[in-house]
Symmetry: D2
Subunit: 292 residues, 4 copies
């Protein structure tokens, strides 16, 4: 199958490569001349034969929106756009509403797998109309890990459901990582435990907590014993925030994932304003010393 | 009434003073020669007439235990010990079990009010047998704030119940302070809000959130505009931890007070080990930069 | 001063009454014929003399928006709208942007005090331009509690800042209430504590946790001993959600207020889907019994 | 190797079987006549040759303590006790202090794997002196999963470290399960997502959140579509509580694991007393309806 791919960053390039290894023909465009196969989106569209399929893999927000809008001008009825970036599901629904009257199909696809996806395959969650998803299935099958389709791919629901599932996936990821992290901190704090990495590694096979993230933590503890010198400063990329916002919108209690998110916020503060207030209050009522 | 007081630190001295102002006679002992009225506990006991009442106001743990044990040797049947420090309620129950066979009464009394208590009176929560509490009532009435007795004093239950109530009081205090603190941080973070102190002050009279802690925060914001330069580092004195431990023992969900406690722990960390683990994990799977 | 008031529900009626007691003339409109002074908004506007001041006190969202838009048609340059309902601050900024080109002033005013405000006065937080706030000051002075203006009123910042401060106020309120609530639950759970209401009441005067909410809890425990029979089901009115959403937008850690919010969500669930998943998982790996 | 095993419940029986399959000789005792090989502990000890190794696998607390104390009377210098149950690490340290003067070795061993351990092997974490751990290594090698020893076994540190690591393992497990559970609840709540089980299943191979727990959740969702009818009521077995208590003792912030623990407590409440208090407070200040 022949497909266009817009956006050839860390993820996009690897996906192009995995698709090519699977025998698909990929025409890629990127702002970076060194990465692209064609020099503009027009050429990319011209290089494909109808019904065209174009995978969009650019940063979410304005870049995604303007790319899709541009494609809306260039593509024809029956063509298909796959938004594979990290768009919020509400954005998908707005973009689909723009494409639908033109007869251009729209599928949103959440992609998980990071830098390991090229070799292992990507976990794919997509949303859209049945016929559009079907049209792109050879692409999905090439990108997903080997094995049964349903273990690496889902048609989660309507347009937006793919990115929604990916958002929830990332929210869960926040919670999982922080659970291991709290365990790490406690083991490190306890004097009678002398082999913390060994503990994590011993959980690799027979235990309830075995997982890929566990394997990665063992690996990280091998690379950097005791994680000595690693800065706690941690950014967040949006999906964690959206997950908690969606929880609020849907009245879903979410103490674990929100705690993991808040810990990231806190990791970026030199001096917590909230704790300044607590310290100041204690100084007021208790005569407790306040450090300046 | 005549009463002995052991422990004349910040709290004890003020309480001696408030009792004297109310017309009680207080014989005080402290390790510090400059504060004490008599030179040892023996002399203190001899200076009282049976049935004697001795208020113990020394640091919790070993100092309290050894003081009560010493009093157990010196006092007679019918005398009364009031443990007014910050003992854990389990300690009260152990000490009472030592005194009870000797016929020495034991009342535990949680005291709130900090440095303001001398003028405003202290909130008192006590536990013990009815007759022992009655015996000490003139003391309690002098220490508590003016007004109806029940608004500044409670006989909460059996031995230990006083310190239990005080422990819960302090746990609540953690939660209250942190609620204001989170609000402070959010107001400070928002550009359109230009008078944060003014907001807190405007809540002083008519609003649902008015409280003494609010008044103190307004005062702190007056003393140190924006709390600029105040260190977020905040210690904790035990009752917060005990409250959460009791919640766990009694299967009581306690997300708010535990969150306030954990924030104190975090305020004392230069680099969160848990967030080091999260940062390291992200480096492993996503190729996200890890700051060293 | 003469003022129009649109919306005469529980809050609006009381505010009209308080304004009248202070000597202001109030022309009120409501959908309910039994409450209103005039039969439509047009008549209300005609009853005022320029520069007119109209207080809008209707449910937030569409009712507020359509009322303000209608006033935008009826009012003249130099008139002033005060949005005193529970609008989100973003809505204020949108509505102000509609009024500003017409020369109609816009002030948003958060109002706290509930059913007690008629007698005690209302805590007021407003946002807007200096000259607009000044124009309405006699109204604010009549509504706020007696005493120094700054203890019951703040001009918090730009348009939107008033409702922002009110939103944070309500978020704090969630946290405060839940801190007391957790303490209540723990005291109730402990056998040695026999007078739970007495404990709360004893905190009324001398303690760090004294507050109006504490007084209300004492009162509630008097009305309904042990709160026996009260349903835990608790709704939420929006500001708590907005507060946590704003925390997320501003990367402010907010564990306490979010926990209080999530507890409300949970109070409305018969069977927690999340805990169904935990129970099902335990059944899978441990052979733990799963209750059906 | 020949080994005694005391306690042949769900776990003990399976472990005996796995040891036998590996060629070890196991003499088992249990209170249940149908399960045991010998009729009392004395016979068990007599059936072994010095230096004897006895694995204790009975409920933690009094049963474990009295079993170890009994073994302390029956065993000789140079013999070894392995406490493989769920003892708290502090209990291990007390029991070791009783055995050590007798020259009886003591190793604590946390065992993970549940009902799957018989086939897959058990994750093992042990604490004790080097020579004692070495002595039992053939047993550990038979019980742990196949593959490199360090991926299913760790000598974590001193006596107590094994159960400490197991305790942390279980604490992490609480957090992991709840992270998936929150994601499940949110996906179920969202109308545009129509294949929730499909989402979880699609994460099985290529994604960051893949794990054994995820596989189990997919399986549970296959057994009981939508988890319909499963009761949210969930017990807790101690290690989760201990983990949070240890976090408190070591001043380690633990928002995620504590939240998961509190959610279990809440799952067992018909009517949350804390939320009764919140509901009652709202009734007091806002005239909000309180449901009785």
């Amino acid at each position: 199958m022949k497909i266009g791919m817009i956006g050839l960053g860390k993820m996009g390039s690897n996906m192009r490569e995995r698709l090519r290894r699977a025998g698909h023909e990929v025409v890629g465009f990127d702002l970076d001349e060194n990465l692209r196969d064609v020099d503009d989106v027009e050429s990319l569209v011209q290089a494909l034969e109808p019904p065209r399929v174009v995978w969009v893999m650019v940063p979410h927000g304005t870049p995604t929106r303007s790319t899709v809008e541009q494609l809306g001008e260039l593509l024809d009825e029956g063509d298909l756009i796959i938004e594979g970036g990290n768009s919020k599901y509400t954005e998908d629904r707005e973009l689909d509403a723009l494409m639908e009257p033109k007869g251009i199909g729209y599928v949103d696809c959440g992609v998980s797998g990071g830098i390991w996806g090229l070799e292992n395959g990507y976990g794919l969650m997509c949303g859209g109309r049945e016929e559009d998803v079907e049209k792109a299935m050879p692409i999905f099958d090439a990108l997903r890990p080997e094995g049964p389709r349903e273990e690496g791919f889902v048609h989660a629901g309507e347009v937006g459901a793919g990115h929604y599932a990916k958002m929830v996936h990332n929210g869960i990821e926040y919670g999982l990582m922080h659970a291991y992290a709290e365990g790490f901190e406690l083991l490190m704090a306890k004097d009678i435990v002398t082999d913390v990495r060994g503990c994590f590694q011993a959980w690799s096979r027979g235990t309830v907590v075995r997982s890929w993230l566990l394997d990665l933590l063992v690996s990280a503890l091998g690379d950097t014993p005791g994680l000595k010198g690693i800065d706690a400063y941690t950014t967040d990329s949006g999906e964690g925030r959206w997950t908690v916002e969606e929880a609020i919108d849907n009245a879903v209690p979410m103490p674990v994932i929100s705690a993991a998110l808040f810990a990231r916020f806190a990791s970026r503060q030199e001096n917590s304003p909230a704790m300044q207030a607590v310290a100041a209050l204690r100084g007021q009522f208790g005569g407790h010393d306040v450090r300046l």
